[in-house]
Every structure is written in structure tokens, then in C-alpha cells.
Symmetry: C2
Subunit: 100 residues, 2 copies
Amino acid sequence: MATTEISQERLNKAAYILKAVAHPVRLAILELLNLNEKMGVLEICNALNCEQSLMSHHLINLKLKGILGSTRDGLNVYYWLKEKEVIKLIKCIEDCNCTM
Amino acid sequence: MATTEISQERLNKAAYILKAVAHPVRLAILELLNLNEKMGVLEICNALNCEQSLMSHHLINLKLKGILGSTRDGLNVYYWLKEKEVIKLIKCIEDCNCTM
DNA sequence: GTTATATATGAAAATATTGTCATATATTTG
DNA sequence: CAAATATATGACAATATTTTCATATATAAC
């Protein structure tokens, strides 16, 4: 073992959250909700040009991990960015000189 | 389209880099190399209890994306953390209240 | 050159994620 | 209650990632 505390559980959690975010559509959702406070599902679908069912899957995925919150108001369900910290991840990558 | 510049290409790149990092073993590699400057492959394998061939795949993956650098010295190949910015990603997640 | 050691490679199997589609549920309106 | 609209769900197909294994390559020592 190495000199440091590289706990398996901590790394698993970090990877789990990173995976949740590591998808172009989900990143777009996060940025959108960072700008817009609260949005309905169809509104998000239209803004990101993504089919409703797929969008639901993505939204629920992010909600399950505590990254988004949601509330129903009549027919609509509104989502918002609950964990604003994740926006930093995106900013952070923009500072990287990683290659594609 | 939304009010903002949510460029597809930028999001694809961000997702691509996040995916590279979003794996417990690769996260462990990054932390290890953040602490240790330069390490040989077997050294990393032993520290992280991971089989050689699998480790090579991970290391080459990270190198390809510009996150690690490597150099051969005799029989050994040494890897180092080239893109230190990525460490911030891990720190960033630790500040999150995301659930597992 | 042969042997030993370290690392890389490629194919294939195992597993996980993503996308699609049909349909279910929830709510509102008439 | 029936119809319309918004969202969620679940199964399955498509695709991508991860792991394993056998083997290749590189270098060093003899």
C-alpha cells in the first residue's frame, strides 16, 4: 500500500459522481439550470433538442444523485440545480490542457 | 435553442475528459502521482493492487488524453501527472453533497 | 544470441451506459 | 368520467467501457 489514504470508498464515490456528470447532455442540463433557476421538462427538452423520455432518464439520474431537485406544479415538473458545486467541475476542465 | 452558448463541441470535450477521470482506479492513479512525482508501472500496480496489463490500459488511456506523461528509463517506464488541474476535480467533488 | 524482467498491445468476454419505444401515471379541463 | 397534456417507467436494443488473457516488444544481463 502507498503512503497515503487513498480510500477505496472515497474513490468509488468520486467516480460515481463524475460519471453522472460526464455526459454531454447532462452537462448541458447543468449549465442550463445554472443559468435558469427552474425549468420544466419540455422546456429543457426543447432547449437541448432532446427527446422527452431520454431527457426524463437523464433528469432522474441526476436527481437520484442529489445533483438536481424537482417539484411538480400541476402538469409540469420543474427541475433545478441543487448541487451548484458541480458547475465548478466544468469550469475546472476548461482550464485543462487535456487533448481530445 | 436556449439563450446561452452551450456549444456542443465544448460539452463533448468536457464529457470526454470527465469520463477519462471517472473511474476509481484512474482516480487513484492521479492521486498517487500527485503525491509521488514519478512512478514506474509495477510500483503503481503494487500500490493500487491492480494487475499489470489492466494498469497499462489505464495509464495509456490517461496519457493519450494528455493527463499523464511518461518516459522510459531502461526496463522501466515512469509516469507522472502532467495535467495537475485534474486534481481539482477530485477536490471539487469532495465539497459536494451528492449522494451515492 | 538466450534469458529474464518490464511494459504494451490486441482480441474477446464481461459488464455498464445510453437510447428507443411503447405504455403507465398524474393532473387538468370539459 | 373522458380527453388532453406532461412526465415517468420499464424492457430491450445499441453502443461503449472495462477486464482478462495470451502474446508482443523493449531493454538489460549474461
